[in-house]
Symmetry: C2
Amino acid sequence: MKQIKFRREHGLFVAEGPKIVEELLAANYRIDTVYATEDWIEEKKEKFAQKFAEFIRISPKELERISKLNTPNKVLAVCRLPERDLQEISNPEGILLALDDIRDPGNMGTIMRTADWFGVNNIICSNDCVDAFNPKVVQSSMGSLARVKVYYTDLETYISESKVPVYATVLDGSSIWESSADKGIFLIGNETRGISPEILRHATHRISIPSAGSGAESLNAAVATGIVLAAVKRVGTM
Amino acid sequence: MKQIKFRREHGLFVAEGPKIVEELLAANYRIDTVYATEDWIEEKKEKFAQKFAEFIRISPKELERISKLNTPNKVLAVCRLPERDLQEISNPEGILLALDDIRDPGNMGTIMRTADWFGVNNIICSNDCVDAFNPKVVQSSMGSLARVKVYYTDLETYISESKVPVYATVLDGSSIWESSADKGIFLIGNETRGISPEILRHATHRISIPSAGSGAESLNAAVATGIVLAAVKRVGTM
């Protein structure tokens, strides 16, 4: 079940734990099967009766056998991969987050969670980003997967054809604190190599998070995303 | 080697990979043994000749056997745990980061890297935080371990006796954008439970990162640390 090939062939992914499964149920994700322990079913069946009727009762031992978590947690859902079409982006005039070659599942999930916190509902990923339905991404998104839509595309083509400002987060741009950017596409690059030159040349602006210059060469990609979105979103609140 | 007990009994920890080992060597960490492949030794022995003479040459196969990494990377160092005394904090009047019960090694390492980026050199941890010399912390700190000093203490006592402002990062405080805080102790809490009530009651201020209110219940602890430090550090740069 861990394999991207399996997910794409069968159109399914797995989510685990009460928080994530409940948010997917609440968000009307298409869910094939929910395996859960008796206590979870007893507590939740009424709440979700309208959405899902046939929870499959399993013992904690059985859950342990099918779970990918170190500490299995009451419920596991097999869900349908949503179909995403870039044309359907609801608010292309607002803030879009674009990720170039983000490889670490923990970073991807944390970036989804961070985008959700700041009300950014659409993330456009280069085709070489880690799969957003990888189990580690699903778990580290902490349920934000239920609200944030992730699209995979040829990011260079997408950025080059964009009609909105494109802000690239780089090490030698102008300070985010001097920018009054409050909409457009915000680009975050690979954990090691940053944004690829092919994509970077289509950016209209280069922004940076000022460092104290004391030693660290870079920030973690999810931390950088959080700081950029916080800085952009602050404009309306000050 | 993974066990905290081993580290405390023997006073040793393990660091791997060229970036981290080279930063520890450059920072004058006390290093017991460096195991490295021939190519690394040939390339680096002159640079570090003053600091360390006796690199132990091993084959990639041997490195694979002693490494904890999925992809072992040229060099592994066995280092002495530094002795830390809270009295020696070099700049108690500046910014101190305080962590209450941070459990995830990846978060701890990323927080150290983020503090380093913003020039925050001292992190005070509650005794129940994950060990800063846990191999996963060492690796995710990306070398910042060589510059950022981490102290473990009874955080409640420390905070209660502090003479400087204490800013607690919580979900219902005043906006970080309305604060002009630029020094003091900045508190970050546990990944699930936040800051414990015993510590929170000693805080002089409560600050929050404004959310769009769209769904995510919280931010990742390292992302929150990054946004708080970025907001505090911006004060001087605007």
